[in-house]
Amino acid sequence: MILGPLFFAAPLALAALAALPILFLILRATPPAPRREFFPPLRLLLGLRTEEESRKRAPLWLVLLRALAAALMIIGFARPSLAPQQISGAATGPLLLVIDDGWTAAPAWPQARAAAEDVLAESERAKQQVFVVLTAPARTPRDAGEALTAADARGLVSRLEPKPWRPDRTDALKRLPKKPERFARVVWISDGVDDPGAAAFAEALKQRGPVTARIPPRLARAVYSAAATAEGIEAEIRRAPGGLGQGAIAAETLEGRSLGAGEFRFPPGADSVQARVALPPEIAARAARVRIVGESSAGATRLLSAGSGRPLVGIVDAGGAQTPLLSDPYYIERAIAPFAAVRRGDIRPLVDGGMQAIVLPDASKLAPPERNALDTWIKNGGLLLRFAGPRVANAVDDLVPVKLRPGSRALGGAMGWEKPQGFAPFAAESPFAGLTPPADVTISRQVLADPSAEREARIWARLADGAPVVTAAARGKGLIVLFHVSAGPAWSNLPLSGLYVDMLRRTLQFSGRAQGAISEQPSTGPWLPSRLMDGYGALAPPGSDAKSVPADIFPDAKAGPDTPPGFYERAGSPGSTVDAASPKDTFAALALPNGIARMQLDGERTRLLTGWFLGLAALMIALDLILALALAGRLPRLPSRTQSAFGAALLALAVFYPAQPGHAQDALAKYETRLAYIRTNDAHRDRITAQGLEELSQVLRDRTSVEPGPVVGVDPARDDLSPYPILYWAAPDQPLRLSDSALANLDRYMRLGGLIFLDTRDAGRTVSPGQGPAASMLAGLDTPPLEQISGDHVLTKTFYLLKNGFAGRSGAVRIWAESSASAAARDGVASLMIGDGDWASIWAQGGEEQGLDTPATPHEMAMRFGVNLVMLSLTGNYKSDQVHVPALLERLGRRSEARP
């Protein structure tokens, strides 16, 4: 029922308004209740009469106030809402709901989802059938293709997340339901971006019923290309006409750490602009992605493959060094890692792997096949960087820029006159020109170039006495550079100085100057995804259903269900990427044919006013209470000055109270061990979890020296998680993806050494942690590799010895924990565990006290598991040694047997 601007969902309640006059009379006739006083000299009052003793009626204004409060309440119960214009269209007949769920919809996804839910709420009231069509293609169709009830459709929509690729409306056209022919209403929640199939799709929708298109207020923008250059990172930003005209881009590492940001502004009329993040090259080389700040979509994120801007450098390292941290390859890798992608290995794999430069630490004559392979590679444009050493001094092959005299020259030894030498200033034509050699960098041993051959090579650096120390010579299209000292600090302190890094960087600038350095025969293996983007542009390890991409289709791969955007790698190649926004895509505003109503996405929300009306009525009733007390003379009578001060204080309290909810208390609480759980979208579930943890806290207090404070529910998006040793995360019935800030906070929490325990509550149905509720809860999180834990895990020993495994709701529960290899940085203490036992519910049920000799109930076993879990979070691997106890005991026993 519509009255003016108001729509009443329950108009029958308005009939109660008719009773208002009666209420008015009753209220008018009821005097306020007297205040009762104990009064000893009552006898003296006998026979006294006051004039107004006969007043039996409440004052008129009070009655009016009460009647108004009642009227507001009645209107409130009629469930009023501000009526949107469109609402009358909800006739009987099926509804077709089309949702563009590509990355182009991701920036406005909350509004899109809300709009879809509003439409479904209306059709739920009208009891319409609903058909849902999702335009982004998927490997398995996610829209049912058949009639749903509005409630089911709402469930579908509430779980819906945007895909990291563009909608394909040509494909969606084919998937439009064949029946019915005609819909009562067609609602198209669109991303507002055109594509080749859009016009035909819109026409088809028009044939099927009255169409309303909901367009987001701001269209998505995209980063179309990005590359690391000498000045930093250049990116091309595009927008659909009418998109937001300015913004900023940020360059980030793979881990999501921001490296720098740059602003951009579209020139008037232009829909494409170049933006730059100014960064030193070695920092720019670490960037893994560029994204538009404040716009979370896969298209607004551009991935930079590991090789872009960084030379791919191979270090020849046969492996097996006794002291890896003192070996030459280690010094080289540390020096060049900031600006180069480094591989280690033997010569053959490196040459075949398409290295742009190869570093060869001290090596004498190479075996002929390797020497030949290397020679061919150099002639094709490779850069070989060699270092001297005892083996080079002994004998060397011909892959050197200059002929060397056998043996080495020692400077400043016990038997020599000469002092260790420093560098001479670099010559102007040397690539090192401009660098200033520090005075304290000295060379104590070097290999000497044959003076007769010195003219063959170019000398890049000399010692103070003129002896060449870095020489270079061209070979074919390539270049050989020789440092006449060792790569490690054995012969000089050069590798310990910053000069070393600078010299290597300048040297490696010569790498890859000829494309020919990349091997001719490309490897043909398939590309494997290493990290994939979701629709919001967040990177995550691929799920178990991720597929490899055959090499032949990879170069032309466009983001789609079979080639999701993300980082890919394969053996023998530098990593590569598939990006969500392809340069071939058009990026223009959606043109709608006539006859399709166009509405803003967030313009017309149905606004329920029930709360406002009821709240106002409650306020008036509260006011009435105060007035009634005042009339009865029961309010404390204070001197007028005190009264106003009191009123002001009360007002101040009311104003400031929500602003500072017990900060001092919070600060104190931080020093207390408290069990915490992550609040979900399911309040009922949260209550159970809180109750379960409260029970567990009580058991901990009773049985252990852990005395946890009150249980606290945290919101990972806003709260500081660091005070809590463990976060219990029970899966809600409809798990949702976490926000970016929540993901970042949880990632940080895990890195800090916190333990997240995720309870999927699906008791045995989970096959692997990559599926089921855990998958959607952990989406976007930097999830470490997990392994299923067995009976010898430290979790079985932290407090109770759980010999018979873990008890949960079902008989056989399974628990996955971060693998100890992955957790090596934290001494093998897992930061993430996933179980399916629904423990919080068991704890919350409570159990009766039991004696020591009775067999443990399932509740008791679950409690013991909880105690062990908390202990694990507090003690880490402290009890790991217990794993070895049986073996130790056995050994002790054997020795005592042997001794007698």
Binding site: P34, R36, L48, T50, E53, R55, L631
Partner: protein, 283 residues
């Protein structure tokens, strides 16, 4: 719970508070000048002075031990003792155990403090003290301590008649009709008793601060009385109260009793001073 039980419970509550009350009473008494300046010779136990022997004294009165030290004859005189009996009665009606605000003590508490303080002063002067209608009056320093439990013991609400010549202190709010008290005091005066009435009142009873629609009640007595606007009854009440007080004062004076008015929100010391002054006049 029967009335007796209620009274016992109240007494037990009060008794728990007794040390405090006693201390309060002693402190009050310490700041009040003593009453018994009966400094003259007479029949008594304590030595008072030696005086010269006069011929009419006869030989029996000569204090030979003192006289042997000199040429003259001496007579030993003792201090006159006029031991009186102080009797106390405290009204224990429900109205007494009430106070209008937590800041002021109940009327009963204040009555107890005043009575005990006066009892302490009396016992310092060597008088016997006791509860009206209670055990036989005692003398000595500990008498006040013994008196306290007797005063709060469940008693009849009617005061007993004093047995003989004595000082009787009645502590009450005296809201009972004047005629009733006239009978009681008449009976007391008949046996030679005199004394004082300590009229204790709560500030609310004096000022009548009530406003708005108010229902006045007192358990166990007349019907509750409801006023639409209590503030309008203030004038009438005040004049009635003054009338009642005046009548009570006149009546008491006739029978040789002094009426001392006291409010619980005032200090107890002036009331005690007034009490001692009025009673010591009598010698």
């Amino acid at each position: 719970m029967s009335e007796l039980q209620t009274a016992r419970t109240e007494a037990a509550n009060l008794a728990g508070d007794l040390p405090g009350v006693l201390l309060e009473a002693r402190r009050l008494a310490a700041f009040t000048p003593g009453v018994h300046g009966r400094r003259r010779s007479g029949a008594g136990e304590a030595f008072w002075q030696f005086r010269d022997h006069r011929p009419e004294d006869g030989a029996r009165l000569v204090d030979w031990r003192r006289s042997a030290r000199g040429e003259r004859l001496y007579v030993r005189e003792r201090e006159r003792e006029t031991a009186q009996t102080g009797l106390f009665w405290i009204d224990r009606s429900p109205g007494m155990g009430w106070s209008s605000s937590p800041a002021t003590p109940t009327k009963h508490h204040r009555a107890l403090v005043l009575c005990l303080a006066f009892a302490v002063l009396l016992s310092k002067g060597g008088e016997r003290i006791g509860a009206l209608g209670g055990p036989a009056p005692r003398a000595g320093m500990r008498a006040a301590d013994r008196l306290a439990p007797d005063l709060i013991a469940p008693q009849r609400s009617e005061p007993a008649e004093p047995k003989g010549k004595s000082i009787v202190i009645y502590a009450s709010d005296f809201y009972a009709p004047v005629e009733l008290w006239a009978q009681r005091l008449k009976a007391a005066a008949a046996v030679g008793a005199s004394g004082a009435l300590i009229q204790i009142s709560d500030p609310a009873e004096e000022d009548f601060p009530f406003r708005g629609r108010t229902q006045f009640e007192q358990p166990g007595t007349v019907q509750p009385i409801t006023f639409g606007r209590a503030e309008e009854a203030r004038e009438a009440y005040a004049s009635r109260l003054v009338q009642h007080r005046q009548a009570m004062r006149e009546m008491a004076r006739i029978y040789g009793f002094m009426l001392i008015a006291h409010r619980t929100d005032h200090s107890a010391a002036p009331a005690l001073s007034l009490l001692t002054a009025s009673l010591s006049e009598r010698g």
